[in-house]
């Protein structure tokens, strides 16, 4: 019987006409977001491949270059991002159980933590700018030209291989930061509609799928932090 779905859902304003019920609509949305995340995994996968390849080619240069990154700021940012994933999970949870106030607070907390991450990242980028570590001539008038003594460059390690690390560092953290900026934008839209009271236990899929995106960006960083910041510390990093 076509009339088997729950009566009150038929008239729910959020139910699109091409779905039988809200349950089906929710599962379709989640599936769509996961398919998108698979393409994102392949996108970042290419950069992780480039990293693995060049690290295996120039292990000493990569260790030296990595030891110059700020491990404290990197670790703090990892904690900030994990905390933001937790507040995002709480935003989904609060929406599922219909607690609007907790939902809004969680979304605001997630946005603030996301902005904190980007702020710390900007401080790090500025330090790299001051040390002339921005690769190539990306910044006009400030080409890649670090002080070999400050880098603790050892015999036989070429500066161009150190530069290779910084190309990959800026490509990967830059793409990650762009995803964070988009994420903060999406969360701001969520917050707007959440204040207007659009989301409820029956209809919360936008919160759920943007949460999936946010957690994905967190996972990318979970791999970036040890690969970029920690790879050479056991060789006498400081």
């Amino acid at each position: 019987m076509a009339e088997s779905y729950v009566e009150h859902e038929v008239g729910h304003p959020a139910l699109q006409h091409h779905f039988a019920n809200l349950e089906q609509q929710r599962e379709a949305g989640t599936l769509g977001m996961w398919v998108f995340l698979v393409t994102e995994i392949m996108f970042f996968g290419g950069m992780f491949l480039a990293y693995t390849l060049y690290r295996s080619k120039y292990p000493e240069a990569f260790a030296i270059a990595s030891n110059h990154l700020d491990i404290k700021l990197g670790a703090i940012n990892t904690a900030v991002l994990i905390f933001s994933s937790f507040t995002m999970a709480m935003a989904v949870y609060s929406t599922q159980i219909g607690k609007r106030r907790a939902q809004i607070i969680s979304l605001v907390a997630t946005i603030i933590l996301g902005l904190a991450f980007l702020g710390i990242k900007a401080v790090e980028y500025y330090q790299k700018y001051e040390d002339h570590l921005i690769p190539g001539s990306l910044i006009p008038g400030n080409p890649f030209n670090p002080d070999p003594h400050a880098m603790h460059l050892t015999q036989g390690v070429l500066m161009q291989h150190v530069q290779m690390f910084y190309w990959i560092y800026f490509a990967m953290t830059g793409m990650h930061a762009l995803h964070m900026i988009i994420g903060v934008g999406l969360l701001s839209v969520l917050l707007y509609f959440s204040v207007k009271g659009r989301y409820s236990p029956e209809y919360h899929n936008p919160v759920e799928v943007i949460g999936l995106y946010w957690h994905f960006v967190d996972i990318v960083w979970i791999f970036l932090f040890p690969l970029l910041y920690l790879l050479g510390r056991h060789t006498g990093g400081h």
Binding site: E23, R26, E27, T30, L31, W34, V35, L37, V38, I41, M42, G45, G46, L49, T52, L53, S56, I71, A75, T78, A79, I82, F83, S85, F86, M88, A89, M90, Y93, Q96, I97, E208, G211, L212, H215, F216, D218, I219, I222, F223, F225, P226, L227, L230, L231, R233, H234, T235, G237
Partner: protein, 95 residues
């Protein structure tokens, strides 16, 4: 299949596990383990952390089989990407 609501204490537990994992990663990075053990330790912890996020924060543990297939397909294609590329690079020195 109706939606499963994950209790708050599970989220708090996963959050704490992720923080502890981060601390262990940093501490382990300063130990000079033999051979390639440093990178193996770091990547093992990262994979465990990522798995916790996927299963609990992203609710895959409670999701439909179709979602599991989608996630597995991503890992499968990543494996192809790495396996084919490195089967080339690692064998270039062979004569």
């Amino acid at each position: 299949m109706s939606e499963h609501i994950v209790p708050v204490k599970v989220y708090v537990g996963i959050f704490l596990a992720l923080m502890v994992g981060t601390a262990i990663t940093v501490l382990a990075a300063f130990q000079n383990f033999p051979g390639a053990l440093n990178v193996i330790v770091a990547m093992t912890i990262a994979v465990v952390k990522a798995t916790l996020v996927v299963l609990y924060f992203m609710h895959v543990r409670y999701s439909a089989r179709l979602i599991w297939v989608i996630v597995a397909s991503a890992l499968f294609w990543m494996a192809i990407l790495f396996a084919l590329t490195f089967s080339d690079y690692w064998t270039r020195g062979w004569t």
